[in-house]
């Protein structure tokens, strides 16, 4: 499914240094159709009725009793000194820890208000430790701001988590049902990963909106609710896709690197989606295994009770106990499967969509440049015609327009160069970071598997003498 997603600016505004939402605030949301069957419907939750003061007020709903909370830490990211000369990051060791916690229920949304805590030694922050409260819509708002500011420059802006409507409705059914606990943890951890990725980006870290988001106790509710609505997003996406498709002049790719990289990302996209599907299947089957193990444990206990040979009866009861413990192990492992690997892969797939979006931006920039050249050509032709028409003021206007469009062409060419340069750098950084990211997570996951197996060994070794004692 090829839907070039990117924040699209209206064609007129090509200034790269916007420092605020000049264009319509847009939400960059990737198309999760094939991955998250539940998360396809993006529906406006920020409807007018749901404005600031809600009748219930925030009520803490679920004590996070989730089995495994994987806390993401950016101190794992270690900077190697050989960065591009363009990168102006600090030479401090990158030390920033972000945790997102205390999900609170606000109105219908079970995980809407969260605490965001920041610990850092970086100088750009005013304090070493900060804790603030944020709403889910604030996160989305931050992302939309960043997307509108940086996407068109070729920066890869990390995508924000989805709202996932199905997760919401599940919650309405039961107070403490497991799926809602899972949903809350899923969102909490997704938001944490999102922030960490955002601050890892050197340019984004310095962005005033990001700093404000992380530090200030109150955030202005500047984001218009319309923009976050599902219909609005769909419109944006389709407009963007149309823009690229309607490009009458196919981009003449002079730089082989771009062509190659685009193809590689296409391939990677396909592979990651397959991998993600397999991992989701694993999570599902492991949960089944846990359920079936628990069920077998009960049955073995019953069999033990029925058994009239004393020693065998005892051994069967012990077997039932072991299987119960193993069931718990499976549950924990399923969590690790999910939070470490499955969610990570989902993040990657969406990141790659952001990468592809950036390539599309470049094409759009190129198209703009072409359009400007065409325009310039026309103005020149018009001026040439007016030369013979003897209309001095119109001629002057034509000359002015030529100058104007010459300027635009130059600007367009500069933009194109800049975005190409940015993308090269971004992709290089992205590749390095992601592989590190990936490796760290795989190591964590393997360690979780080792732990599970070691526990298994313990349980079975404890059972062995019981089995041998059957006489």
């Amino acid at each position: 499914m090829e839907s070039p997603e990117a924040a699209r600016l209206s064609a007129e505004d090509i200034s790269p240094s916007s420092n605020g939402p000049k264009a319509e605030p847009m939400l960059l949301d990737d198309d999760p159709d094939d991955l998250f069957a539940e998360a396809t419907e993006e529906v406006s939750l920020d409807s007018p009725e749901r404005q600031p003061i809600l009748s219930d007020g925030p009520s803490p709903v679920i004590t996070p009793v989730t089995p495994v909370m994987i806390s993401s830490r950016a101190d794992v990211f270690d900077r190697s000194p050989d960065q591009d000369e363009d990168e102006e990051e600090n030479r401090d060791t990158f030390d920033i820890q972000i945790s997102v916690s205390d999900p609170e229920k606000v109105g219908k949304d079970v995980c809407d208000s969260l605490s965001l805590c920041l610990q850092t030694s970086l100088s750009i922050f005013s304090r070493d430790e900060v804790c603030v409260k944020r709403r889910f819509s604030d996160f989305l708002g931050l992302h939309s701001k960043l997307a509108s500011k940086y996407m068109h420059m070729g920066y890869i802006v990390p995508p924000a988590p989805e709202k996932s409507i199905v997760g919401m409705t599940k919650v309405k059914v039961g107070k403490e049902d497991l799926s809602s606990v899972e949903f809350v943890e899923k969102r909490r951890s997704a938001l944490e990963r999102y922030l960490l990725r955002t601050v890892k980006h050197p340019a984004l870290l310095k962005d005033p909106d990001v700093l404000q988001f992380l530090e200030s106790s109150e955030l202005p509710r500047a984001v218009s609710t319309q923009a976050l609505s599902g219909a609005g997003i769909l419109r944006m996406v389709n407009k963007a896709a149309d823009a690229v498709n309607k490009m009458t002049i196919k981009m003449n790719e002079s730089d082989a690197w771009f062509e190659e990289k685009q193809q590689q990302f296409e391939n990677l996209d396909v592979q990651l989606r397959k991998l993600h599907a397999s991992v989701e299947s694993l999570v599902c089957h492991r949960k089944e295994l846990s359920v079936n193990t628990a069920s077998f444990a009960k049955s073995a206990a019953m069999l033990g009770n029925s058994e009239d040979h004393t020693a065998l009866s005892r051994a069967l009861s012990q077997l039932a106990e072991v299987e119960e413990k193993i069931d718990q192990l499976h549950q924990d492992q399923a969590c690790a499967d999910f939070y470490l690997i499955s969610e990570l892969l989902g993040d990657y797939v969406r990141l790659i969509t952001a990468v592809k979006g950036v390539f599309d931006q470049r094409m759009k920039t190129w198209a703009k440049c072409q359009d400007a050249q065409v325009m310039l050509q026309r103005k020149r032709e018009a001026e040439a015609k007016l030369q013979h028409a003897n209309k001095p003021d119109k001629l002057q206007q034509a000359k002015d327009e030529i100058r104007e469009w010459e300027g635009k062409v130059q600007q367009g060419e500069r933009d194109f160069e800049q975005i190409s340069k940015n993308i090269r750098r971004e992709v290089g950084r992205f590749e390095k970071d992601r592989v590190k990211d990936f490796r760290v997570v795989i190591i964590k996951y393997l360690e979780s598997l080792v732990h599970t197996q070691q526990q298994m060994i313990k349980y079975w070794e404890a059972f062995l003498p019981e089995a041998k004692a059957i006489a």
């Binding site: 397999s278 295994l289 049955s299 360690e447 197996q453």
Partner: protein
Amino acid sequence: MTSISEDSDKEKVHSVSVDLNNDASLVIDIPDALCERDKVKFTVHTKTTLSSFQKPEYSVQRQHEDFIWLHDTIVETEEYAGLIIPPAPPKPDFEGPREKMHKLGEGESSMTKEEYAKMKQELEKTVQVHEVFLQRLSSHPMFRKDRNFQIFLEYDQDLTVRRKNAKEMFGGFFKNMVKSADEVLISGVKEVDEFFEQEKNFLLDYSSKIKDATAKAEKMTRSHKNVADDYNHISGALNNTAADNNTAFKKHLEKCAEVFEKLRVSISKVEDRMASDQELKLTELLRYYTRDIQAAKDLLYRRARALADYENSNKALDKARLKGKDVAQAEENQKQCLQKFDKLSESGKKELTSFKARRVVAFRKNLIEMTELEIKHAKNSVSLLQGSIEILKSN
């Protein structure tokens, strides 16, 4: 055609029923099995010193249906009513692989390694269960002398014709008998013997529990195999990603390729082996004893039937005495019923006692073996995983 050859020694001890094949005078095993199209052909190999056999050694080809024929004829034999008749082996289940075999025959697709491995596992299981059936017969003092058993072992032709004849003769007769016997038992025959009263209660309860445990174990094993399959797919996908040259990160992924291969072995193969061993030791054990418990229950039913017959004969005798007609005949009938009942009770007691011992020994052996295997696999997995972690950390 897929075949397996058991390289292990002839004196193989089966987990589900231990202490078989100890008597060298009649040694039976199934060294080979062929799976062609939709039939499995077992090679039944017999070594004997008994004079009742024509030759000291035989090898014959038998199909599953032949085993069923043998089982049914033994069940129908009145003489064996007081014995626990070894349960018939279940039909080999090769659903998926069978379709593949058909396709292979038509020269279509080829089997993947996975499918082949699964087929081999199924084959091993079915061989084990058919072999145990024969060995239970050969190790029992009465069954081993059975005429049909001997024919089964030594007749070098196809048994198909014999099977057809037998079906015509008996055709479902016994099944009907069991049904009515079932009801007799349930309707609460007054049990005088304490031993049998206890056994009845135990067997009735135990049989439903073990049936349930078997079903749950099967589900658990199936889930375990699914997990192993998923790991296989994942590692395959990872390998593809690493091997694909035209992908982003390829430089970095090359370093990981070695690790992914190790992971494939450590995670997916080990999980698969764990699942298989659990199936062989636990699930198969429970399956077998569910059938064996049923065989023990059948014995009780037959005895209960004999008891009912005896009581009926008593009533008939009383009636005859009252009428003064056919008294001698009725007396004779009553005597025979009593004899039959006593015989069943006596041999039944022996059989049920040795059954319990056999069951306990088998459970012990299997539980120990399963536990030791789980430990071994888990340790193996840990060392492989730790090796992979080392490699990844050092990069």
